[in-house]
Each structure stands twice: as structure tokens, then as C-alpha cells.
Symmetry: C2
């Protein structure tokens, strides 16, 4: 109906609705206009069965979303939309593992790709429920550990190299003469957190700076605030605090300033991790290890495109770097 | 295959995978276990065709996501997941309108429901691309305006009553003797912003407090910061600032403290809107008009369930209130 009303072929109508197909912009506009007048839209459920493409990308995120994850989902959704994909969100249980039933749903939606973290669901488990999609895992290879365990399942990787940024942070802090250092943890079940701690320890050892005091944390502002108070009231304090994420660093800064009457950076230096949008707000103006969000999203989209082009390829990977962004909380 | 291996009926297998179906927990667990061993999951594309249910809820958000929207998407995804729905994200163009082609995709995914704002896409336009779903619009009815324009399209409503919270904020601020008041705008294309401004003006008039100075804003920290500096350097300043959102209030507070050398609340009082998680951080400790996120998400999920139970019902609505949360930035 649309084809005859717009005086084009049925193939042209199909191409007009397919963001991956090349078609003259005026032709696409005319077809979409006619389709609109006729109330026609292609049904993706029907089309998914025919093409075996769902145009859905699943993203599995922890139960409680941090600003970092929100900003990543936001940027990723924009980038995927340009490529003709919609983002489908799934959240883990509070213990960060995936519900059996939810896992079945993930597969049931037949996504073209799924982005996951090994601490939430392993590649073997996830691979078992996916019909065609090869999952993408976020890995921290320069840590020498923290890789998703696999008994042979194929998965693609986004390698986040945390070491460079951490080395720069340690160099800066030790350059200001700080010797007594603390690491304010993130959630211990998070591989990003354990990789950060392990890399920080390795870098400190290499520079002969000894072990950091480890302060309990869970990526939240509240725990960071109370743990920092405890660090100074019970554990002898520190000259510099490395936080596992920016939100934790904000909690530490507020504890130092408002609970302990200490100045940042004069009395205590603070370094965050992530570089979320709030890190440059004047009240914090945080020196932090940056994971470039644009670069990270570009790498994820590239993994999705490369895999869809060659479904039979062996595991593929993309790599992103970290670097220190120097603002006002160190020297 | 699964039915015979688990020694149950095919109906039971289908029920085990349907979160809405009642089935004994042990039975469901056994079926899912067997299904896992056989690598079986129901394909939602096939099922959507059969049941005409996609188990997808579309959410249309502005191009640049604020912390408020992120927190709402996060809470909504958790709540929908419990009900067996997955959240599908769509983002508008930078001018806040929806792309024609994207609109066709929204319909193509055949969502069971779509949550939208009238400034992004009108009910008539959205209704035209949806096959079965009745869209849900967020409305501000106590403002007397700001409703989505409709030429007869049926849509469901979440009514956000902004007036109560704004009245409480004005009472508190005027109780401290502030007379010269400013309104720090959000994006002018946002109906939430225009409704807030109009309601604030109405409440000020009723209390004989005169017109507020209006300061340019767009919901971002950066614009709020520079506009607040301009307010004090060029426009004679204000005794109290009502911001259209919390992030804008943070920008105003930082401008007052770090650019203008003024104290909050001693020299200038600041009130936000939303009550995002960051509002209680010590550096801001913001007095703000709260839209209860849990209540709001519950109302949205209720609208979705009520509509799916009775697809032919006339427009349905749910209502949420606002109230002032008093912290440290006023008196």
C-alpha cells in the first residue's frame, strides 16, 4: 500500500525504515510521509523474525545506578540511536547478581548485543541464554586479573586500562610529599574496584611508597563520608585519599571539610576516579582519573558493529585509556 | 521438549516464563532449570506476535539527561522489571523534538506503553505511530496550562501538582523577610519549567510579593553559575533565588560562594526543585521542592497496569504531590 501510494518498490519502503540501508534522503522522506498518512509502520516483532535482527542492545547495570552509569547509559543510548538501535535496560539484584528469570527474559528479547560486567553475570551463563548475540564484557587487563572467568564461551571485550591514570595520580600526590596514603574502596564485589585497588598497590610498591590504609566504601556518598570520619578519628588519618569513584571522593571531601574541620587540598589531598560531570562543580573541583566517556561509548558501539558484521569472528576487543585530570583537590 | 523433560504441560512452561502468570515457585524453578539445561528460552519476538504484548515500555527523554531523569529511569526500570517489563530508551534531538524516523522506530518496537512529555512529541503524533499502546503524558494541571495539546487522541496522564511545594517554599522565604526574589529558569521549551515559573508568579501575586526577577537558565550547572553572577553584577541581585531544578540551584550556590563572595543562606537564600540524591550532600544541603521519586514511579507503573488491563478505557490519570524539604540553604 505504501509502496504503491509513494510510487516506489516494496524494497524501497523497507529500506526507508531501515537505518542501515542506503537510500536517497528525499526518497526516504517521501516514503515516511506517505507511510505516516497511511498510519503504516513496520512491526519490529515481525521484522525481527524475518531478519533475525531485533535492533535492541541490552545493557545490564547494577541495581543502584551511580551517576557514572547513568551518564554512560545516556551517552550510549544517543550513540546507538544514530546506528538504529534502541537501548534495553536490565538491572541486577541488590547483591549484584542476575536473577535466573530475568536472565531468561534478556534472551527472550533476542537482543543483537548485550553489554555486561562479569561480577553480575558470567559469560558462560549469559552466553547460554543468548540466541545470536555475543556478549561484550568490560575488562581491566593491565591489572593482571579481574577478567571474566570463562569455560570457553566466546565474548568480546572492552579493555579499560586503569594503570596510566593511577600512575599519574600517584606521581602527583607523592610529588607533593604525601607518604601516608589511603584507598577509599568501592563495592568489593565490583571488579572495577578490586582492579583499582590492586593497581594502586602495585604502583605504590614500585615507587617504594608502602601499603595504603584501606577504608571501607561502597561507591556511595554516605559510606564515604562516615568512613572518612572514622579514618581520621580512629585510624590515624592520611595525607592523601584515593577514592574508587568520584562520588566517594565527594563524600570524603565533605567529611574532611564539614565533619573534621580539615582543608582540601592544604591538609589532605583527594583523588577521584571516573570524572563524572559533577567533578568540575566548584564545591568539589576534583582531581580525578578520567575514563573518557565519549571514547568509551565509541569503543562499545564499534564492538557491536564489528560483531554484527562478522558473527562468526573469534573474540574481538577495543581498548580505552585513563588519564589524570588535575583540578583543585591536590596541591 | 522442555515440557516433556520437566514432566509438565506446555502451558506450565509458558507460565514459568511469564512473570504475570501464577505458578508454584518450586514448579517454576524446576521448569527454568530444565529449560536452562536444554538451552531453551522463549523468543519474545515470536511471543509478541502471538500475544500482541512486547513487554517493552518506551521512555522518551530529552537529548541531554539530567540527574533527575537518570534517577527516574533507574527507579522506573527497577519497578518495571518486577512487573516483567523491560525499559526501552529513546532520546529526542537537541531541540527537544523527536526525529520523524525515530518516531517510526518507537512504533516499530511495538511497546506496550510509552511515557512522554508534550514538549518532545504531541499525543496526536505519538498516537499515530503506536499500534496498541496508549501513551502516558506528564502534566502540570494545577498550573492551569502546560497540558499536552490534543485533537482527540486518547492519552493517560500523570498529574504532577507543583503548587503545594511552591507555596511552602514562598511562605518559608517570605517568612525570613526576603522581598527581592529571582527565578532561575530551566529550559524554556520544557513545560515543567514554564509551569514552575507560572505557578511561582501566581503564588507571589497572591501573597502581594510582586514579580520575580527572571534569570536565564537551561537546567545546567554552567548556565546557572554564569547567570547568577550576571544577576548580581548587572541586575541588582536578589535576596532569594528559586531555581527551576536542583542542579541549577547548585550552580547558583557555587556562584554566590566562589564567584561573588556571598554566604548562603545568610546573604542569599536558595531553593531548588526535584530533590535529587545530590541535594543532601553537605556542600549544598539544599532546601528544595520535592517530587517524590518512589511515589512518581509507582503512579507511572499503576497507569501502565491499569491501561493494559482495560485497553478500551477512556483516559486514566494518577496524581502526585510536591512538598518542601527544608535543609540548609534558607535561613
Amino acid at each position: 500500500m505504501v509502496a504503491s501510494a509513494a510510487q516506489v518498490s516494496r524494497v524501497a519502503v523497507s529500506r526507508a525504515f531501515n537505518p542501515h540501508a542506503s537510500i536517497l534522503p528525499e526518497k526516504r522522506a517521501r516514503i515516511l510521509k506517505v507511510a505516516g498518512e497511511l498510519n503504516y509502520t513496520p512491526d519490529r516483532a515481525a521484522r525481527a523474525l524475518a531478519t533475525r535482527r531485533s535492533h535492541l542492545v541490552g545493557v545490564i547495570v547494577p541495581d543502584v545506578c551511580s551517576p557514572w552509569e547513568s551518564q554512560e547509559i545516556d551517552a550510549l543510548t544517543s550513540a546507538l540511536q544514530v546506528e538504529g538501535f534502541a537501548t534495553l535496560l536490565f538491572k541486577t539484584r541488590t547483591d549484584m547478581r542476575m536473577d535466573e528469570r530475568l536472565l531468561a527474559y534478556v534472551g527472550g528479547f533476542n537482543p543483537d548485543s548485550v553489554i555486561a560486567f562479569a561480577e553480575n553475570v558470567g559469560p558462560d551463563t549469559l552466553g547460554r541464554v543468548l540466541h545470536r548475540a555475543t556478549p561484550i564484557y568490560v575488562c581491566y587487563p593491565d591489572d593482571g586479573d579481574g577478567r571474566p572467568g570463562s569455560e570457553g564461551a566466546v565474548f568480546d571485550r572492552l579493555n579499560v586500562m586503569q594503570r596510566t591514570g593511577i600512575e599519574q595520580a600517584v606521581a602527583l600526590v607523592s610529588g607533593y610529599g604525601c607518604r601516608r596514603l589511603a584507598y577509599l574502596e568501592g563495592d568489593r564485589r565490583s571488579l572495577a574496584n578490586t582492579a583499582r585497588e590492586r593497581t594502586l598497590r602495585a604502583v605504590l610498591r614500585e615507587r617504594g611508597l608502602g601499603e595504603p590504609v584501606v577504608v571501607r566504601g561502597d561507591f556511595t556518598y554516605e559510606t564515604a563520608l562516615s568512613s572518612t570520619v572514622e579514618l581520621f578519628r580512629m585510624l590515624g588519618g592520611a595525607e592523601a585519599i584515593f577514592a574508587a569513584n568520584d562520588v566517594g571522593a565527594f563524600g570524603a571531601i565533605d567529611a574532611l571539610r564539614f565533619e573534621l574541620g580539615l582543608r582540601v587540598p592544604e591538609d589532605v589531598k583527594v583523588v577521584g576516579f571516573d570524572d563524572i560531570a559533577q567533578a568540575h562543580w566548584r564545591s568539589y573541583h576534583l582531581t580525578t582519573v578520567r575514563v573518557d566517556l565519549v571514547e568509551r561509548v565509541r569503543a562499545l558501539v564499534s564492538l557491536i558493529r564489528r560483531r554484527l558484521k562478522d558473527p562468526g569472528a573469534p573474540a574481538i576487543e577495543e581498548t580505552v585509556q585513563t588519564r589524570l585530570v588535575v583540578r583543585g583537590t591536590v596541591g
